[in-house]
């Protein structure tokens, strides 16, 4: 055990951050949870709007609208994460050995991230217009112009239950570049010796990727997964910019939270909603944290 005077300076340096996080994050989380357990009645007729306690949670989780929102979130997250990972990895693979004008490709792929979600939403709202045939605009119109008219779709407003997948398109457009950057840096950190050794052993390029490179990239993949996944869960401004508020088709817990809080005057339900989201996010994040703790303990010895 180290002597106190040894680690104390370090602790003191981090203390301000600890206090700030404690006050501005954990105190707010605590308040949020306590609000979510309130029992509320309407002012005039004393009708119960929130029964109080855990029943607030069961009421929310049991409602059709919330379940629909959760399903949308699942579809959105899966497609969003898969899309960014696939494109990010693909672009990194295409660029990692070095190409002419790599800087240009890299910058262009990163460009969408510079545009705020709200601003991008304005363009994507039009791109994802559901009109088909002679009403087609946006992507549908473009598809018709290149002869791919049969791929026209209602996008996120198509009758399918999985329509929310289309809402992942703008998000993929914006964030694949960042995932690419992660993987690209990772590729460049693996020494060429390992590739050479595998090639000497008779491995094809594909096998080099599969057996030498990809396994070493798994920590990066995990970070990207976590970062993109949590962004998907918190996303509401992009959806609002594209679908407006009160859209049934595009509803996810994060948008419902805004409605509950600022339109329905129901901070209790909004707080329960937020806590459920926080728990869901924790489920995704806790494995990552346990994994990194484990591997780091090992390297520290």
């Amino acid at each position: 055990m180290r002597k106190a005077k040894d680690w104390l300076p370090g602790f003191l340096l981090v203390l301000p951050s600890i206090i700030l996080i404690g006050v501005f994050v954990y105190w707010l989380i605590f308040r949020n949870v306590s609000t979510s357990l309130d029992r509320t009645v309407t002012r005039a007729s004393k009708r119960v709007t929130n029964p109080g306690g855990l029943e607030n949670y069961t009421k929310l989780l049991g409602s059709d609208d919330y379940q629909h929102a959760l399903f949308n979130l699942l579809v959105l997250t899966v497609v969003f994460v898969a899309g960014t990972m696939v494109f990010g990895l693909l672009w990194a693979v295409l660029l990692e050995k070095g190409v002419n004008a790599e800087g240009i490709f890299r910058s262009v792929y990163l460009l969408p991230m510079a545009i705020s979600f709200i601003a991008a939403g304005i363009v994507w709202r039009w791109l994802l217009s559901p009109g088909k045939g002679d009403q087609a605009v946006g992507l549908n119109q473009l598809l018709a112009m290149v002869g791919l008219e049969r791929f026209q779709s209602g996008w996120w407003q198509s009758p399918s239950a999985f329509s929310m997948a289309a809402m992942a398109l703008p998000a993929i457009w914006q964030l694949s570049g960042y995932v690419m950057a992660l993987f690209l840096a990772g590729f460049r950190g693996i020494s060429e010796d390992q590739r050479e050794a595998a090639r000497i052993d008779g491995a094809s390029e594909w096998q080099v990727y599969r057996h030498v490179l990809f396994p070493q990239l798994s920590p990066i993949a995990l970070s990207a997964l976590i970062i993109v996944g949590h962004m998907s869960m918190k996303m509401f401004d992009l959806i609002y910019a594209i679908a407006g508020q009160n859209s049934y088709k595009a509803s996810v817990p994060a948008t419902m939270m805004w409605t509950q809080m600022f339109q329905q005057n129901n901070p209790t339900a909004a707080a329960a909603n937020a806590t459920i989201l926080l728990v869901l996010v924790a489920i995704v994040v806790v494995p990552y944290l346990m994994y990194t703790n484990k591997t780091e303990k090992e390297t520290r010895g």
């Binding site: 300076p9 951050s17 295409l94 262009v108 991230m113 510079a114 039009w126 809080m261």
Partner: protein, 310 residues
């Protein structure tokens, strides 16, 4: 030219901030790896994706150069029939006052966050204290709080600070800087922590300790000089985050002391939207961040690597 090497330049260590080479050297000229067919396919794919990525940007640019009366949904793919810069003019008029405030906001947030993150990162990774792992885990978990649920109490807390005697200056951009700084602590600490875990050999720290250096002196003379890549990565992330934020700006400031996202929203939110100005405004508001990316893009690749490998 020079003899080929199979050496990989280690991430950041003793480099004093140069970007890592953009590819490992294998003795061949760039772009000549692999077969001719393979190369063609690769370039074709790269260009295809380039075009796809640029599609929405094309619409933004083209619409911004049209006259307001010429903008209809069905004609949006077409080039302007008559070029007009009215959109750009009105966007500039609306956006230029707060642009400067946004610059101050994003730059301060970027620099301050990086400084705070580097100190935290160093302590969490190398210097450590009992319970450091638990505290760090709690920091990361705190990253995931959905902000819209806590905006009202957050505003209340910040107003309480503002109304304590002597703190009346805690408003507008200053308030936003504080908020982005606070909520950026987890990710900035994460980036630096993982970077130091890779790039800072414990032997050098031991050597400094043997020389009698305390925490601050070690930090100043040993750690900071090799931290450039992590600084750049953190600054880029926080710059983007502060520049594009609207949620905090909406609740904590108003149009007279707020950042450019306020003005952009005003442009976009009227009852009769003027699309050329909106598109021009979006482009204008994205330009500074774009510039930051392009200029620092090479550092971005180098720095991120050390934040995440392991």
């Amino acid at each position: 030219m020079t003899a080929t090497t199979n050496e990989v330049v280690p991430a950041g260590a003793a480099m004093g901030g140069e970007p890592i080479p953009s590819r490992v050297s294998t003795g061949k000229a760039p772009g000549t790896e692999g077969t001719a067919v393979g190369r063609t396919v690769r370039y074709a794919l790269l260009v295809l994706f380039l075009v796809l990525i640029l599609l929405p940007l094309y619409v933004l640019i083209v619409t911004s150069l049209k006259r307001s009366a010429d903008v209809t949904a069905s004609q949006a793919w077409s080039l302007p029939t008559s070029l007009s810069f009215d959109g750009w003019k009105s966007a500039w008029d609306s956006l230029s006052p707060p642009l400067f405030r946004s610059l101050i906001l994003a730059t301060s947030v970027a620099v301050l966050s990086a400084m705070l993150g580097s100190v935290n990162g160093f302590v969490f990774s190398k210097w450590r204290f009992p319970g450091a792992t638990t505290v760090f885990t709690l920091f990361l978990f705190g990253m995931f709080i959905p902000y819209q649920a806590v905006m009202i109490p957050l505003q209340g807390m910040l107003l309480a600070v503002q109304s304590t005697p002597g703190f009346s200056w805690f408003d507008g951009i200053v308030k936003l800087i504080a908020v982005h700084l606070i909520f950026g602590i987890p990710i900035c600490s994460l980036i630096f922590r993982n970077y130091y875990a890779t790039a800072l050999p414990t032997e050098i720290l031991e050597a400094a300790k043997v020389d009698g250096a305390g925490l601050l002196r070690t930090f100043r003379s040993v750690v900071l000089p090799i931290s450039m890549p992590a600084f750049v990565v953190t600054m880029i992330w926080q710059f983007t985050s502060a520049w594009n934020d609207f949620l905090f700006a909406l609740f904590l400031t108003n149009r007279n002391n707020g950042p450019v996202t306020y003005a952009l929203n005003e442009l976009a939110g009227g009852q009769n939207p003027d699309y050329p100005s909106i598109m021009a405004g979006v482009l204008l508001a994205s330009l500074p961040t774009l510039l930051v990316y392009i200029v620092l893009g090479r550092y971005f690749i180098g720095g991120l690597m050390s934040g995440s490998v392991k």
